[in-house]
Symmetry: C2
Subunit: 337 residues, 2 copies
């Protein structure tokens, strides 16, 4: 009986989502992001229409990625910087997360605990934790769409946070203008080791926890990193990554990190590189969107659905090779009949 | 003029590749891996036939993944363990790499320098550096295929090495039976931080460089990690990851690490989990192979090729949204005409 069905929050009409977002209504924005994250078919269609309606109002925010190993102090840093921006500069701040769920346990790496408690209650701030579960590709797509909704809602600074575990950093790099790496001093050999990987992605590096007994070690790490970056940077770069120290706990140096991020974005804008970079990013997202749709279409094919269980069972049981099986089911999919 | 064309090494006939591999000919094996890594169409067809011919002779090796941050001592460890296996146990060893090329510079993270110099000249060993360039997906596919060729050539122990930067570890985990993490002591907070991410992937952890002044610190790190793993492991696991210390430089503890890997594989075999795991891995590779083929087919469509340049140009220039553009080009691809 419909009367006995558990209460479920209705979807709003498109116009209510759109008008609410464009008016900067954080409650509607949060519900719109939930819509975008939904995996239900009807929601996906409405979400696509909503994104289209919002697109003309996007592109104006500073898009900033932030990464670092767990324990580097990302949340504390974002709280300190976010409060500086909202309270002292009167700016708006949105924080989104790309949290690559563990492929085995489904557990979150960034953690589910409440973080940035002061910033979360600031009327100029909007904090959205990562959806739990899901593949990196899906989380990334939803994060990018959520970012566009935040832009349409008028947020001037959007931070996209991720953990320093590799692929998710490349993903975040593909949706932001500037990328900040938070490090700790005392990483020793590892600090050298990451040079070739991560430093090509970052625009600003901050050695965090430069307070108390740790000030000297942080400064030493900063100098070494700056020197290393100097040798690594290609000649055609318009920007040499800047390395600073800061203490998110005491607030020391946090403003300077923000200034470095502003300087980077200004350099990008002045050289015309910002438009190029955003264009390349959009191209990447088009290809990602294509891949996703091709796979969906394939698995929706009734002939594939009919053949799939026995073909997959043979592979799982070791009776046929993955490559042979893929070839067989593709032949069914592409058969004209 | 053909006479003036630079000399190019001919492809061999299928039977020569197959017979050479099955006879354990390392020279032919190396050429077959080059064939598998080739991106040329005619090579791909021959490579697929060769893999089919070799498949009945695969599945018998110990497949072991090894990861760790740059500087953790992976090469030194593999050289020490490899020489122990070949010289003292008379076993054969193949070492392959999954080296996620930097997406920006195209540079290798594992490095191109000659490594494992002694092992490389051992007649019972086969070392294959990672192909330079290419996306992780392609490198991973080729590495898995190379692993199968090594198995067909009779190698009893196959090590697949990667760097500790995230996604490539998940990829390697998807092709091996056992996974070894090399760590360093003194990683402090970071050591705690990685718990939720990597420890779910690993079966054996070795705290390396446990020599000289570092013995005590390594032992402390080992004890902490073992305790942490004890609390993290799910009740339904048949194996609790084992943590050891070793010094790849002096050789101390390297045999014990090998014994732990043997114990892990024995536990998998006894419980029947090995067959399940290999089945699940094959299922994953079937889906990966499907994704790859769907994309290839899409981009080979003449209607897509005709429409692509202007649609992509509009996206790169910011004139249309990536999602709209993807929808438009998909409509062309799926149009019946």
């Amino acid at each position: 009986m419909p009367e006995d069905a558990p209460p479920r929050r209705r979807r709003l009409p498109l116009s209510e989502y759109r008008d609410g977002i464009l008016a900067g209504n954080r409650y509607i924005l949060a519900r719109a992001i939930t819509l975008v994250e939904s995996t239900r078919g009807a929601d996906a269609e409405l979400a696509a229409e909503l994104l289209d309606a919002c697109l003309p109002h996007t592109g104006n925010a500073r898009r900033i990625g932030i990464t670092g190993v767990p324990g580097a102090g990302k949340s504390t840093f974002l709280e300190a910087l976010g409060l500086h921006l909202t309270r002292e500069r009167g700016e708006t701040v949105a924080v989104l997360s790309v949290d690559p769920t563990s492929p085995l346990s489904g557990g979150s790496i960034l953690g589910d605990k409440t973080r940035m408690e002061q910033l979360a209650t600031d009327p100029r701030a909007f904090i959205r934790p990562s959806p739990s579960g899901g593949q990196l590709g899906g989380v990334a797509r939803h994060t990018r769409e959520s970012m566009l909704l935040c832009e349409a809602a008028g947020f001037a600074n959007i931070f996209i946070e991720t953990v320093g575990v590799g692929q998710s950093e490349v993903t975040v790099r593909s949706m932001v203008d500037s990328f900040l790496l938070l490090m700790l001093s005392g990483a020793g050999d590892e600090l050298q080791g990451i040079k070739r990987g991560i430093t090509e992605l970052v625009d600003v590096v901050a050695v965090n926890k430069a307070d108390g007994d740790n000030v000297r070690a942080a400064e030493k790490a900063r100098a070494e990193l700056q020197l290393a970056l100097h040798y690594l940077i290609h000649a055609n770069h318009t920007w040499t990554p800047r390395v600073l120290t800061c203490s998110a706990r005491t607030g020391d140096g946090v403003h300077a990190v923000w200034q470095a991020l502003l300087d980077h974005r200004q350099a990008l804008t002045d050289s015309g590189a910002l438009a190029d970079q955003r264009g390349r990013q959009a191209g990447g997202w088009m290809r990602e969107s294509l891949r996703h749709s091709l796979e969906e279409h394939f698995h929706a094919d009734p002939r594939v659905q009919a053949a799939w269980p026995s073909i997959e069972a043979d592979v799982l049981a070791g009776r046929s090779s993955p490559f042979r099986a893929a070839t067989a089911v593709l032949a069914i999919y592409f058969r004209k009949d």
